[in-house]
Amino acid sequence: MDRKSFDRFYCANFERIFRYVRFRVPDEPTAEDLTSEIFVKALAAFDRYDEAVSRSAWIYRIAHNHLANWYRGRRETVDIDDVAGLIKGSDGRDLERWADVHREAAAALSVLDPDERRLVTLKYLEGYDYADMAELLGKSASALKMATYRAIKKLRGRL
């Protein structure tokens, strides 16, 4: 592995993956631990990464699976994508520990259906562009742009 491809991979994905995790776990230290583990895992399998085939989907899938395993380890059953920002512990207490940022976003995003919520979190909270979103979701960038626009309209006045 050369430094340039490693740097490019890290710079392109680090913040997005951290935000993806941060928005789905209760605190920053946990998000940092999980992000570290995700990148260590990705690094171990870096030979299978092909930037030309998938710029973001590969690490995104690793992050998704790792987070699902983490929740499984805590004996909590959640759908990681559908409940971004709404996740709480099975006893409901975890939500109390969440920072205001989560509560505020969760309250606003609750008016959207799961697909719309996913578009808004990918685009505006995690920072993906429409080309990357098209790769992640298997839809055309123009269709996603239109759907995101409609979702933003629904959020008007709620944030």
Binding site: M1, D2, R3, F6, F18, R19, S36, V40, A105, L125
Partner: protein, 213 residues
């Protein structure tokens, strides 16, 4: 007005952003594991704000005061400067697990001193104190992560005050879950802060009595 929604979402996004020190520490760790030489600029970039602060302000003394004084906590005008300087130090300390652990142990000690000396005039004293203790617990977690990569952390703990070193040791070796360790640490830190405040109060009263005689 959809642009307002977009601006607010961008603001939420900024608040979900990772710490610069974490970004550079993880980069250094992955680069080492991957066997690639880390880019020298990558370590300096996150520290740039702090380093500029060092260059510009240290000469005037304000930087030194902000960095050293336990009275500079959230709400203090010099607090952003202090956090910038600490971020710079954290970025520089990622070179080895020993240095990283020593830095985080120092941060645990410093946060405890800050919580102990929070001025009674500071508004929302209780709230600020709790935040500082939370940050001390974060520093302890980072210490534990770095210390797990060194053979023995005893010489590192010896660099902080013995009572702080003892708390770090007890909590680290308790064998409990991460959440329980955090809770234990916060309880121990509060107890230490209370003891130190009482000792200071007794000392002050003793001095006043002696002055009167």
């Amino acid at each position: 007005m959809d642009w307002i929604t977009r601006v607010k979402l961008s603001s939420l996004r900024r608040r979900l952003s990772p710490r610069r020190a974490f970004r550079s520490a993880l980069y250094a760790r992955l680069a080492t594991e991957a066997g690639v030489a880390p880019s020298p600029m990558s370590r300096l970039r996150p520290a740039a704000v702090g380093i500029c602060s060092v260059l510009l302000v240290f000469g005037a003394g304000a930087g030194a005061y902000a960095y050293e004084s336990p009275q500079v906590v959230e709400g203090h005008p010099l607090y952003p400067m202090k956090t910038g300087l600490e971020r710079a130090e954290a970025a520089i300390a990622t070179g080895s697990p020993e240095r990283a652990a020593a830095f985080h142990a120092k941060m645990v000690e410093r946060r405890i001193e800050e919580a102990e000396t929070i001025d009674t005039d500071v508004e929302r004293k209780q709230e600020v104190e709790e935040k500082v203790i939370e940050k001390a617990a974060d520093a302890l977690e980072r210490y534990s992560e770095a210390a797990s990569r060194v053979q023995s952390d005893k010489p590192i703990r010896a660099k902080v005050k013995p009572e702080v070193g003892e708390i770090i040791k007890r909590v680290r070796e308790s064998g409990h879950s991460r959440e329980e360790k955090r809770r234990e640490f916060k309880e121990e830190a509060r107890r230490l802060i209370k003891e130190r405040r009482e000792a200071r109060h007794d000392e002050r009263e003793k001095n006043q009595r002696e002055d009167r005689h």
